[in-house]
């Protein structure tokens, strides 16, 4: 049973792997069946109902109406859904966002795992290393945007200045689409690789010492140790890393909005930027609501597919 914790020095240290399907059954059997537990989850249900369900119902309501004014509205059925799903701008933004998420995953997952492998595990520097690595995660997202807005500028930013004057490459993220894309991508890698690294680090720390001793006795190389001992044990945490990074990069708004505002042109106009432009900028409530629901649906479908594929593979 992987879920059973072992008591080590008073701290409860549970095994790493997520509950496997075949082990789920006996574990569930140990749980007492008691419908009174609903009273315990009631506060959560109420709070989420207020923050999520009611607003979502409002969105559904908007999505099937053409709102001229609060008193003058017409039921239009699925018209807005048709409009939005055929809109070339929305489709372009979808492709752009998917491409961005894909690049984010391809860069951040390997980089994060590599970072976790080289991170110190013992000694006085562990605390300092953890705090420094985690620091970007605690910076407000618009400040992350501000940091890179400054850093990547050719005139006043160290990064942009270095690329322009030391490497001699003409780099200007406010004018050039490719430069803007690269800036946003590098910013995201800077911002979120620490999350993957911390997850992978936690996974690596949970591997029992005897595994490594056995590998050493067998004369395994560092790579073989990584490939056959560390990587398989990371599947659980990496599943979470992939899911979280996909979700958040697919919903990214604040950082690119601060740096590029979606431009130049539409170069970095991701789905959420386009959505808030339609909703708040143009105040097209109906299409924005339909857009919102489709957006939410896409995120959920992708997460479900990812989750299913990742937890089934390797069995």
């Amino acid at each position: 049973m992987t879920v059973a914790g072992s008591q080590v020095g008073g701290e409860v240290v549970a095994a790493q792997e997520p509950p496997q399907a075949e082990e789920e059954a006996p574990r569930a059997a140990l749980k007492r069946k008691d419908n009174r537990a609903w009273w315990l989850v009631l506060p959560v249900v109420v709070s989420v109902a207020f923050t999520a369900v009611i607003p979502l119902m409002t969105v559904v309501n908007f999505s099937v109406q053409d709102v001229f004014s609060p008193v003058d509205r017409v039921f239009v059925g699925l018209e807005w859904f048709r409009t939005i799903s055929r809109d070339p701008e929305v489709r372009a933004a979808l492709v752009r966002t998917l491409l961005f998420s894909l690049q984010v995953l391809l860069l951040e997952i390997p980089l994060g795992v590599a970072l976790a492998v080289v991170m110190p595990r013992r000694g006085v520097w562990v605390s300092v290393a953890l705090v420094l690595v985690a620091l970007p995660l605690l910076i407000p997202w618009n400040v992350v945007g501000t940091i890179w807005q400054i850093f990547a500028r050719g005139d006043i930013g160290l990064g942009g200045w270095t690329v322009n004057n030391v490497l001699g490459i003409n780099f200007n993220y406010t004018l050039d689409s490719t430069d803007a894309w690269i800036t946003v991508l590098v910013m995201d890698v800077w911002h979120w690789t620490p999350l993957v690294a911390l997850l992978a680090y936690a996974g690596l720390r949970s591997i029992p010492e005897p595994y490594f001793q056995a590998a050493q006795i067998d004369g395994a190389s560092a790579w073989a140790t990584f490939r056959h001992i560390q990587l398989p044990r990371l599947r659980g945490v990496l599943t979470i890393a992939v899911l979280l990074r996909f979700m958040d990069s697919f919903m990214i708004y604040t950082e690119p909005f601060v740096v590029t505002g979606g431009g130049p042109g539409n170069a970095t106009s991701f789905l959420s930027i386009l959505l808030s432009k339609i909703a708040v900028g143009q105040f097209d409530v109906g299409p924005a609501a339909a857009f919102s629901l489709l957006y939410f649906l896409i995120v959920q479908v992708f997460c479900y597919v990812f989750f299913t594929v990742l937890t089934r593979s390797g069995r």
Binding site: V12, L56, L132, L137, L138, N142, V143, F151, I240, V299
Partner: protein, 269 residues
């Protein structure tokens, strides 16, 4: 970890240095006068000034919005924790009608793009009188923090053997008394980690916080847009505000540093 690559240490600290570079650059800008920022490019500030920091702490628009952010963030962390604790216990200890569906449904809220909720939040919070209040923002941020808190706490609680509950019941402890006197002290680190994650996600969020506030509960992040005026961007002040928004996070993370890796794993986050 017995086997260490020889160059691991070097690679790691090189990465950390790269990570810190944009942050240090922003700090460097916050202590330069604006003429120097725009006038000439230099790696190290030519003249050091703390005028921007003085402006920040004397202008009430700046420091009050800084306080606003701290207030609603703390409020949200506590509220999310209180709501999530019994629910996480229920999920880790009992089977009940619809438990799996409910758990998954909670998680889907973590997947909702905040942009989706802008319009309804604006209308609903205005109609119930929560618009532009600290409580309003704290409640709105429960949208993503409550599911997260339940998720982390449930992971921690499932690591604690159920026999402890049963033994306590045999010893005559009622459920509430057992929960407060025995169970909560056992999951101290989980509570710390949960508070940390709630604080973190509420602190970094801007889109929702900005939409449902105007003056009284305006977050620091929204005030930062003030630095853009007809005269251009006040880079020094913008950088100063940026540096100061990193401070609370750095302090909070120091307290949970020993649990953060464990928290990530046990909470399965």
């Amino acid at each position: 970890m017995t086997k260490r690559l020889p160059w691991a240490r070097t690679v790691f600290w090189l990465y950390v240095a790269t990570l810190m570079l944009p942050l240090l650059w922003m700090f460097g800008m916050s202590i330069r006068p604006n003429e120097d920022i725009l006038g000439s490019f230099s790696l190290v500030p030519q003249r050091v000034t703390f005028a921007n920091y003085a402006t920040f702490f004397t202008d009430s628009a700046w420091y009050s919005s800084y306080l606003n952010s701290i207030i609603y963030t703390s409020l949200n962390a506590v509220m999310s924790l209180v709501v999530a604790l019994p629910a996480a216990y229920a999920f880790s200890r009992f089977r009940f009608a619809g438990d799996k569906h409910l758990f998954f449904w909670l998680l889907t809220n973590r997947m909702a793009p905040p942009a989706v909720f802008l319009l309804p939040f604006f209308q609903i919070y205005q109609s119930v009188g929560l618009f532009d209040t600290h409580l309003g923002v704290a409640i709105a941020h429960m949208l993503f923090n409550v599911p997260l808190a339940v998720w982390i706490l449930e992971g921690f609680m499932s690591g604690i053997p159920r026999e402890i509950d049963e033994t306590a019941a045999i010893d005559g402890y009622s459920l509430p008394r057992f929960f407060v006197r025995i169970f909560l002290p056992m999951i101290r680190s989980a509570i710390g980690v949960t508070l940390f994650f709630c604080f973190m996600f509420s602190w970094v969020e801007l889109l929702i916080a900005r939409t449902i506030t105007s003056v009284d509960a305006k977050p620091i992040a929204a005030t930062m847009t003030r630095t853009v005026s007809a005269a251009g961007v006040d880079w020094g002040l913008l950088a100063t505000a940026g540096v100061l928004t990193i401070v609370p996070g750095a302090i909070v993370i120091w307290f949970v540093r020993n649990y953060i890796a464990k928290g990530f794993a046990l909470g399965r986050v």
